[in-house]
Symmetry: C2
Subunit: 199 residues, 2 copies
């Protein structure tokens, strides 16, 4: 029925699929994201959806990539001009909190959900999630180390421990926001951040 679209339109269709896929996956999980559901939501056939990717796993990887793009746009890119070191580390965390607080994705933090969903399995999707998570934590570690070397954080700071605590604060924020709907959670996250990184 539907004819071939122009190159621009084709790219747009692909983006529509991935965007909607990311919304669904953030709510129902990457496995709960089904081709049929996606086709219905977008008003197209299953073949039209899967034709862009070939395989559901490839589609999942595209969604993971898109989630990474959204996160990058919403968090690290917003603090790109903040001076490196403690100031940048603080800004990264504040942007992180604001990102979760704003409910950019309807299902909360995509990576939290995807990580707990895939942490037991193998395969490229799990590897992609673990890799992106590791990259972000490495960025945090780099700024923390700069802050230590610059004397902005105590010289005996255990950087790995600090990143562990930061991740915990954000996981808790997602947990209290999504499961308990606790509106005080962002306040709590910011207070814990202040205790770790100073005022």
């Amino acid at each position: 029925m539907s004819p071939r679209k122009s190159v621009a339109e084709t790219r747009l269709t692909r983006r529509r699929i991935v965007d909607r896929g990311l919304e669904i996956a953030s709510m129902e999980g990457l496995e709960g994201l089904t081709i049929g559901r996606l086709a219905t939501d977008l008003g197209m056939s299953k073949a039209g959806v899967i034709g862009h990717f070939g395989t559901k796993e490839t589609l999942q990887l595209a969604v993971v990539d898109e989630a990474a793009d959204v996160f990058t746009r919403e968090v690290p890119e917003r603090v790109h001009d903040v001076p490196a070191g403690l100031a940048r580390l603080r800004a990264m965390c504040e942007a992180w909190v604001a990102y979760l607080e704003r409910h950019v994705l309807p299902g909360g933090c995509f990576f939290t959900a995807a990580a707990t969903e895939f942490d037991d399995r193998g395969g490229p999707v799990r590897d992609a999630i673990a890799g992106l998570s590791a990259v972000w934590q490495r960025d945090l570690r780099i700024q923390a180390r700069l802050a230590v070397h610059g004397g902005e954080l105590p010289a005996d700071t255990d950087v790995g421990q600090l990143v562990y605590d930061l991740v915990g604060i954000m996981l808790a924020l997602n947990h209290f926001l999504q499961l308990q709907g606790d509106p005080a959670a962002p306040q709590r996250a910011r207070r814990s951040l202040r205790r770790l990184l100073g005022e």
Copy 2:
């Protein structure tokens, strides 16, 4: 084919189903827990499995209950004789860390997985998970409050904030253990606990 079993055997069959169901659910999630898979694993028919519960949702609720029993047995019951207040709070957290460290369930903390899986939906399963999570956090809050009133923790301690931080430590522990396989994670968790609750 299989005839009626004695009452004791019947209960045992039901327990076998729920026990295996909990193992599967901790790895694949509560939705990934499938009646067909369960039947295959236990060497029985799908009808034989679902006959004990009537509905998949009822089965899921039974699995959630079983997970709560396991957690209760492995954590709060082990510290029942520790004096109330700070000592008990510390013991609860240590038992919590040990529980995650020991990999009691193959898929890590069942409640972490189930909470992130169901936090966007409605229904009785989500309510059960949220309720059990709330009860455990209330127990933590009670002991924290006793510690404050007894002068074991600073008088200006924000108990809600403390519980928030404790939950974050455990979520991070599960995250680093399951996704990154980081063997240093329990050490990190204990160190963060010491910082919050003293030596």
